[in-house]
Structures are given as structure tokens and as C-alpha cells.
Subunit: 105 residues, 2 copies
DNA sequence: GCTTACGGTAAGTTGTGGCTTACGGAGATG
DNA sequence: CATCTCCGTAAGCCACAACTTACCGTAAGC
């Protein structure tokens, strides 16, 4: 159930802010933390969660650690959401038809 | 930021179980609670959260309250995820190209 | 080799979210 | 009207997650 980890990771506003900040470009941890309203250790802890969820990669470059989005991590979540969407639509249509047929007159 | 509510709602495992249970068909609250490992009041509280997030609809039918998935609630979340996906791919490609060009020899 | 910048880890605090039990109200049924 | 089922709300408890400060590795620059 890896999409559960991903959705759990993205549920936190600070972690969504991190992800949004990484949408354009990869960033070292310090630079990333500078644009956020929390301390740098807090960012480190969030990065661990995002990493465990497979949503980011961290690449050491010299003394910096460059953080980047990892598209594959989103794939599973997208797949789950899509099937959920399809099933919801199907159930919705089925219910509407039941009502149209006069299920409980 | 309505997708935030949606993602927050889906972050909880019990609420995901509720959503999964509703994938096939709409259900009254009691019947829904019967298939879950938590008490009925707990389900009621979860339904409030899911309802506030726009992910379900609750329709009184006699003395029952029938719960159904609401596909539109998923639309915004899907849209956000899709743009995130696109941007992640773009950033990933850009980073790969930077490295190929020999950014830091 | 020493120092400095970068950043992960440890320890402790606190707010909040999910759960339970107990209760109350609305609609069907006789 | 009396009763019974269905379900939402209130109150209280507890675990956990997010944050802070303090500390310690590790790579680079002089």
C-alpha cells in the first residue's frame, strides 16, 4: 500500500509546500528551508518522510544535498486516484439509474 | 485550497477504507460501519470529514442515511496531482539535461 | 590541519486527531 | 401514542506527529 504513504506524506501542508517549491527546480536542503516558515531540522524530518514515500530523491553534491521530485512516486498515487474516480463515476451512474427506475415509489 | 481538504481526508486509513467500501455501491451508515473495525460514532465523525472535503454525499432515505461517493470531489485533487506530475517530469528532464551538459565537471 | 558551512540526529514539548462510551433526537411501525 | 431502529453529538482519553533547541558528523577552503 505505497500510495498510502504518498498520500499521508502529501497530507501535511508543510510537505506540500516543499513539493510545490520543488516543482520548478531541484534545491539543496538549506535553500529549500529558507523559503519555508519552519526550522531547517523540521525540513530534514519532512524530507525523510517524503523520501520514505518515494516522492523525492536526495543527491549529495559536495557538501550540499540536492533534493528533487521523483515522478515515479506520484505514479502509483495517480493510478489509485484514477481507478477510484472511475468506480465513483460508475457507482454514481448506477445509483442514478436505480432512482430513475423508481426504486422506492 | 480544497484539494488540501480532500488529501487530508484521504490520508486516514479508516477513511480510505470507507471510500473503498463505497466504490461499488452506496450504503447506509450502519451497514457501512458494520464492515469497518471501528465503532459507528467513529464512522459518523469520519463521514463528516469526508463530507466537508466534498468527497461524499449523504442522502436521507426514510430513517436511513445513504452515503455515496461524489466524483466531483475527486476532480480537483486529480487536477492538482496531474499538474504536479507534469512539473515533476519537466524538472526531472531539465535536471538530467543539466547533468548531461556537464554542469559541475 | 583548522575552521567553517551544510545538514542529519537526539531529546523534549505540545497540539491535535481518532477512538470510545453515553446520551438525545428524528422517522417508521404497531 | 408508544416503541424501536437508525444515527448524530458531547465529553473525555490517548497516542502520535510536528516543531523546537542542542549537538555532532562530514566535505570544502585557507
Amino acid at each position: 500500500m505505497a500510495y498510502g504513504d504518498a498520500i499521508g506524506a502529501l497530507a501535511d501542508p508543510t510537505r506540500r509546500a516543499i513539493v510545490e517549491a520543488l516543482k520548478g527546480r531541484a534545491l539543496p536542503v538549506g535553500e529549500l528551508a529558507q523559503g519555508l516558515p519552519v526550522s531547517r531540522p523540521a525540513v530534514s524530518q519532512h524530507l525523510r518522510v517524503l523520501g520514505d514515500a518515494g516522492l523525492i530523491t536526495v543527491t549529495p553534491r559536495g557538501t550540499r544535498r540536492v533534493v528533487a521530485l521523483r515522478p515515479e512516486g506520484l505514479a502509483e498515487l495517480r493510478a489509485w486516484l484514477d481507478t477510484l474516480w472511475d468506480d465513483a463515476l460508475a457507482a454514481y451512474a448506477a445509483e442514478a439509474e436505480r432512482q430513475a427506475k423508481g426504486d422506492s415509489p
